[in-house]
Every structure is written in structure tokens, then in C-alpha cells.
Amino acid sequence: MLFKNTYNEFIKIVSKPRSYLGLGALTVLIGLIIFAMKADGESMVSFVTASFEQTLSFNGKLVNGNLIAFIILQMLVVHIPLLIALVTGDLISGEAAMGTIRMLASKPISRTQIVLSKFIAGAIYTLVITLWLGILSLLVSHLVFGSGDLMVLNSDGLVILPEADILWRFGLAFCVAYLSLLTVATLSICLSAFAENSIGPIVATMAIIIIFTIIGSLDVTVFDTIKPYLFTTHMASWRSFFEDPVPFDDIINSIVILLTHIVLLVGITLFKFNRKDITS
């Protein structure tokens, strides 16, 4: 029954035009980034290396498919939560707004299973978006720019990773990025259980992400104790796969924090939905 309901939920997602908004927006954005990098990628890279180039010269293909894929991932992981929340934030509240929630609850399926099937359908949609991001960013940028060593700039300096040592990093980075996006999807579904309209959970999800991101980036000691527990702090942990050596302990910690958020948010949603008054 859970599987059938999940299938139904996914069909509902697929039949909504807004679900394609995310895929369309991703395609356009990635196209734009690739076009911009093709036109002026060298000068963008030289902006990064300018400080070093007074003393050193960088030889080889700096602008390549791996760098473009990394830039795309870095740029879009910040914006994709909105595209995800646009669909998942509507999963429960949309039913409440349209009045179909009563019909749904009258089916021979527990409320817990209803919620779980919505979570699974939301997770599948999130996976589709992440895969689309991966396919477009990696395949298209490799087709346009070719392969090469990856130069990554982080707060500790430049890391240059050999071409042969990159693909597995992208694979695992996409997995962790998916977990981050799944946390956002879970948050929006959770907020959706509290709302009666679609806009509220979507806006609230983005507001929470913005507030948490600002708290995380503020260098104020008063927030130091809560920063490690904010899911937004760990949303960029996919980047850690591009450090050398890879800080696996930090990544595992981030995965644990993100999974804890997911479990907690699913728990809260189940608690709320099982007690939700759907008769009025």
C-alpha cells in the first residue's frame, strides 16, 4: 500500500507544471553558466589566481569540464533548495488547500503511511533534480570544455587535484549534496503539515535557510555553540570532498547532523499529521 501510494504521490508531482519549473530553471541556469564560462572563463579564473600569479605561473588547461562542473555545483546548490521547496512544500498543504486531504485520509491507508509516501515521493523528486544537476553539469561541461585537473579555491588556499582523482569526489559530493537537499525537502514537507496553503511552507523554508545561513556566516561568538547543529552549516560539506586530504571525519559528522535533521523533521511531521484536524 505504501508503494502504491508513493507511486500515486509521485504521479501527482509529475502532473504539476511547477515540478518542471525546477528542471527547466536548472537547464537554463547551467546553459547560461557554461555559455558565460566559454566566453570569459579565463578572466574569471585569473581573478582567482591573480594573487599567486605575481610570483607563479600556472600552466595547463585551467578552465576545463571539471572546474565548470564544480562552479555549477557551487553556484546552484545555494539556489536549488528554492526549486525543491517549491514542489515539496506543497505536498501536504496543497492537499489541505484543495480539500483533497479528506479523500486521501479516507483511503485504507494509515496517516503515517500517507506522510511517509509523500516523503518518499519528495525524496525521489529531489533525487531527479540532483541527478539532472549532475548529468548537465558534468556531461555538458565535459563535452564543451574537455577534461583536466581541477583547481579549487577554499579558505585555506588553492587545491589542485589531478584529473584521475576527481570523478569519485564528484560522485560522493553529489551524494552529500543530495542529502542536504533532502533535508530541505523534509523541512518543507514538515512545514507543509502545519499550513493550509502552499505559499506559507515554501516561503518559510527559504526564510529558515536564509536566517540559518546568516547565523552560520556571522563571526560572532554567541552563535558558536549553535552553528555546528544548524543544517545549513553542513549543506556545503560536499565541498570537503575536494580538499586534500579529504576530512572524512568532518563529512561523517555532517552526514550524521543532516540525517538527524531528516529523522527529527519526519518525526515532527508524523506527530502533527496524525493529530491534524482534517474535518474542518
Binding site: 605575481q54 610570483t55 607563479l56 589542485i160
Partner: protein, 241 residues
């Protein structure tokens, strides 16, 4: 007998005096030493060489890489590599080009120094013009083989670069088998706006210590020289443009 001994003493004293007074004339002047170095350098019309580059630079992490270097007189250099390689901005041709024009500088002998078991003599190269890129150059020369064993070049824009040279099979051409550059990195500043991991604050003491390092080294091991094989100018044209 005593008279003969006195004469001998006088001859020795006279010889010693003459050697002290005119002996300097037999020693080489710094310009002549540089001439010999230049003669070796100009005997190489072109070369290709395989390079293994190992960089240890604060704030940059890069695995050792391989490249092929093409050189053609007077200052054409091309570096071909499959991946990304980092090399010092100066150090391959600038010093040799500068030394080849004697009107641009004055040379003064300095102290002697043993470098890797080889006796060397310091020559200070002082540019005549104040506006040139090179502010001061010091070269430690193996006078026996007429090769530079160490150089320390201070430029207007790139700070000071110290280079240690090791020689192998191409000693007769004055081409090194290993170059070790020591570069000044205190000017490196990370553009925070593009670092992107704004949520991340490094607390690792190792990384903090790494950031405080002001010197970096780049070691280039050169092998399989092909000297005076006749390189076409087309090789040095940038394909991208």
C-alpha cells in the same frame, strides 16, 4: 755560502712582492667569468627537456606533475603539460637574457662559498639603469666549469627568487639537471569573496601554521635533454589565440 742564502731570500721576497703587486692580473675579472657562462648558454640554440615538477608552496596543494619544456634562443619558452603545473614566474630565461647584455650591468666579485661540495665565487650583478625589472642579482659561479650554481634575483614586481642549480650530463652546455627555486610567498592573499566556503572557519593549527610560512620551494628535475635539435618557431605560437 751565507751570501748565496741571502740572495735566495732576496729573490723569494722579490717574487712575493711581484706576485702580490701583479698577481691580480692573472685572476679572472667577473665580466670574463660571465662571458664564459654566456658562451656556454649561447652554444645552446634550442632544447627540449622533460620536467618533473614538485611544488611545496604555502596555501597551494598540488601533486608532483610532469611537463615538457621547449626553449629556443633568445628567450622563447613553452611549457607543455597534460595537467596543471605551477612554475616560478621568473627563473628560466630572465637572468640569462640579462647577463647576455653587458652594457646593462656592472659585476663585482664577492665572497667564495662551497655549494654542494663545489667551490663557487659570488658575483654581484648591479643593474646600471634604475628603472629595469631586475633590482639586484647575485650569482654563485663554479669558475672551473663556468656554470651558475646558485642565483638570487630580486625584481621590482616578483620579490626575491633564489635558485639552486645541479648539473648532470649536460654540464658542457651549462644546462642543469635540477633547479630548486625558493620563492617569496608573503604577498599571497586569498580572495575571500570567491573562496565560497563562508561557513567554514579553519581551526586546524597545522593549516594556520601553513598560512604563516613565507617561503615556498619548487623543485624541477630535468631529464632527456635534446639539445640543438632545431625547433621550429611555430611550436612557441599560442594555439589558443
Amino acid at each position: 755560502m751565507k751570501k748565496v742564502q741571502n740572495h735566495r731570500k732576496q729573490y723569494f721576497l722579490l717574487f712575493g712582492f711581484l706576485f702580490a703587486a701583479f698577481g691580480g692580473g692573472f685572476a679572472q675579472e667577473p665580466e670574463k667569468v660571465i662571458d664564459k657562462i654566456n658562451a656556454k648558454i649561447t652554444s645552446v640554440k634550442d632544447y627540449t627537456v622533460n620536467a618533473h615538477i614538485d611544488a611545496d608552496i604555502p596555501m597551494i596543494k598540488i601533486m608532483p606533475s610532469n611537463a615538457k619544456i621547449y626553449f629556443k634562443q633568445k628567450d622563447k619558452v613553452k611549457i607543455e603539460s597534460k595537467g596543471i603545473t605551477i612554475l616560478p614566474k621568473q627563473g628560466f630565461t630572465e637572468l640569462n637574457t640579462f647577463l647576455s647584455d653587458k652594457s646593462k650591468y656592472s659585476a663585482v666579485f664577492g665572497d667564495s662559498l662551497k655549494i654542494n661540495g663545489t667551490d663557487t665565487r659570488l658575483i654581484n650583478i648591479i643593474p646600471n639603469a634604475a628603472s629595469g625589472e631586475i633590482v639586484l642579482a647575485k650569482i654563485w659561479v663554479d669558475q672551473k666549469n663556468s656554470v651558475i650554481m646558485r642565483s638570487q634575483v630580486t625584481t621590482q614586481t616578483n620579490g626575491t627568487v633564489k635558485t639552486d642549480f645541479k648539473y648532470g650530463s649536460q654540464l658542457r652546455y651549462g644546462l642543469p639537471s635540477e633547479l630548486k627555486f625558493e620563492i617569496d610567498v608573503k604577498k599571497f592573499k586569498m580572495p575571500k569573496s570567491v573562496a565560497a566556503d563562508i561557513n567554514k572557519t579553519s581551526t586546524d593549527p597545522k593549516k594556520a601554521k601553513e598560512k604563516k610560512r613565507t617561503k615556498g620551494t619548487i623543485t624541477i628535475t630535468l631529464s632527456d635533454y635534446k639539445v640543438n635539435g632545431g625547433l621550429s618557431d611555430a611550436i612557441f605560437k599560442d594555439k589558443k589565440k
